[in-house]
Symmetry: C2
Subunit: 408 residues, 2 copies
Amino acid sequence: MSKPSAGEVRLARAWLSRAVEPGRGAIHDLVTAVGPVEAARRLRAGEAPGRAAELAEARRREDLAAEDLAEAGRLGARLVTPEDSEWPDDALRAMEIAFARERSAGGRPAGDGSARRDEQRVELAPPLALWVRGSPRVHEALARAVAVVGSRAATPYGEHVAADVAYGLAGRGWTVVSGGAFGIDGAAHRGALAAGGLTVAVVAGGLREPYPRGHSALFTRIARDGLLVSEWPPDALPQRHRFLVRNRLIAALSAGTVVVEAGVRSGALATGRQALRAGRAVMAVPGPVTSAESAGVHDFLRRCPEVQLVTRAAEVIELVGAIGDDLAPERQAAPTPRDGLEPLARQVLDGLPAAGAVSPDLIAVAAGVPPLDVLRCLPGLQLRGLVEATPAGWALTAAARGSGRDRP
Amino acid sequence: MSKPSAGEVRLARAWLSRAVEPGRGAIHDLVTAVGPVEAARRLRAGEAPGRAAELAEARRREDLAAEDLAEAGRLGARLVTPEDSEWPDDALRAMEIAFARERSAGGRPAGDGSARRDEQRVELAPPLALWVRGSPRVHEALARAVAVVGSRAATPYGEHVAADVAYGLAGRGWTVVSGGAFGIDGAAHRGALAAGGLTVAVVAGGLREPYPRGHSALFTRIARDGLLVSEWPPDALPQRHRFLVRNRLIAALSAGTVVVEAGVRSGALATGRQALRAGRAVMAVPGPVTSAESAGVHDFLRRCPEVQLVTRAAEVIELVGAIGDDLAPERQAAPTPRDGLEPLARQVLDGLPAAGAVSPDLIAVAAGVPPLDVLRCLPGLQLRGLVEATPAGWALTAAARGSGRDRP
């Protein structure tokens, strides 16, 4: 068996991408064992081992590999394979590891009990090839990537937040990966584009007419400034079962997955769970508890302690970014004149009347602190401009009265 | 030293409640060591040990105990002491344990770094006595109690959720404890009252004019149907430092504390942290990430893994209720005809065209599954009413087409 040419390899991968549904461990193992050209030959000839042969049986007599490559060319797309320098090896490493771990554990992912059975049976086998449209090189686009996914039936709140998070991520040099769907996915792509950043849409059908058609203008923009990615040949239909398989890829290609809105049964939660399987960071943005579109997110946060609550891009980056250089700034309230006061000094301050001046002894009685402590605290309070010594005794300054407005 | 009479004990406790601010470990230890009557005598005489003497120094010469008890009587209130059968021993047990633990650990609670210093220095010493207005017996009202607290500057969303959670708790026989403040506290009390349940307002000043005055009508209702509780004598002012001390009592008296809305600096978060100190369940209700009034809640959930996200009363009860009998029902979506289908059967179903009938072989090609598997799955799909055999081949039923509407 002589070493196959690059063209033969490409044709074999194109053939495989049509002959078998992606993500199947048996096919992955065969290709790993004998290479794509020999794997394709055996499957075509009906000579492959048991399960792999079964998976390829229905379509093995069909060969549209050259046509698919030509069609991709007409669409401005290309087939990216593991043999290419732009193959996202680094991004897929976590998936390879998780796949190997689940194989050795018997093929069943650890579930939290809420995943549906078919979702748990989606195998995490890495892609055999990717159909790609867009100029950025795939491995570079995915070097720092976060998925932002959520409900198609999003609320204005959810779309606002998804766009805002995506805008913040893209503005800090992170690629935003999503599924191109209506609702949250679309808002995430648009937010990234608005920031002039990179965005990648991973779709569940072919690139000729990416699903949903209503997003064709968005897909055109994504293909111009970012990437459209699919595991299926250009004319493949977005069959329903393909969404779960596609979701595993969104999760695996991204360092972290952020779920913005999701009903209790949303596919976005499946993406989140698959990101957990793939050992990726999983985050969720809460919303009003009165909103059905946040109910799935809240359930997810309640059930899975690994899922982190996030509210903005900086917090996402803190979780997926390089340790140390991506810490989110702490939220802080405006400082008040009382900040930094010792508790005792606060108590003394509270012992002064709102108006008028009193003796230290009366302050001690009102505050319930030892008179000596009152005498010790007053000079410090005076230095801070909170109290003043008057001929009639000690009094609050205007500044101290102002800072106490919200409470008596 | 003869055993003091019940009347002497009551007078001593009334005197202590005015002479020293509540929550102080040194006073608690003295009372525990020598009893309230002897403790009051020593403090009054300036014979108490160091720190206790200091704490009582400012007010030890004043004795309004009889007047305070008479004033309470005029207000329809009473002093409840550890010697009374209605003293909430059970509710306060967690506080006693936490107080002892912090004492032995050197007096400093474990912080998450976000608590302000003065908050951390609030000692968890149990109350010496409670001024109470309302007919329910205190220990009974607090046998099953949850605190619902939050921002005074609440949003309509927050007030709605607080009232809803309180309504749900009260309707299931749980007492709702809060601080009587504007905003979330008021909404929680009202929600409990609306359900015909018990509610307890723990206030930071005396019961003659509970703070804030704007809630006087609400306080009247609470006193009629529930309880007003204070550690201070009837005429005490709601001084600012007293709120933190009061918050520790709200947290300690309740099996769990639910924070509904809180800015990054809200006192409600202090209550939550004190509930953590007291070993109580702490919960938080998320909100829109665009709302400043939920920012503190989200920070709290992010920083403290012990804090549980909750969205409704049933989930609160699951966390604080007796194990086993208070499980929240799982949120479920409406079932669809595809529920329970094997993944393979779903894939076969996806291989049928939206309209028209086809052969099993064509289904196999479209679905990418082995033809034998197609033949195996079709009878099951037919039994479920999802496909039908027609003279032209196999076709989707109307029901199956209907259930696929949301995706191609």
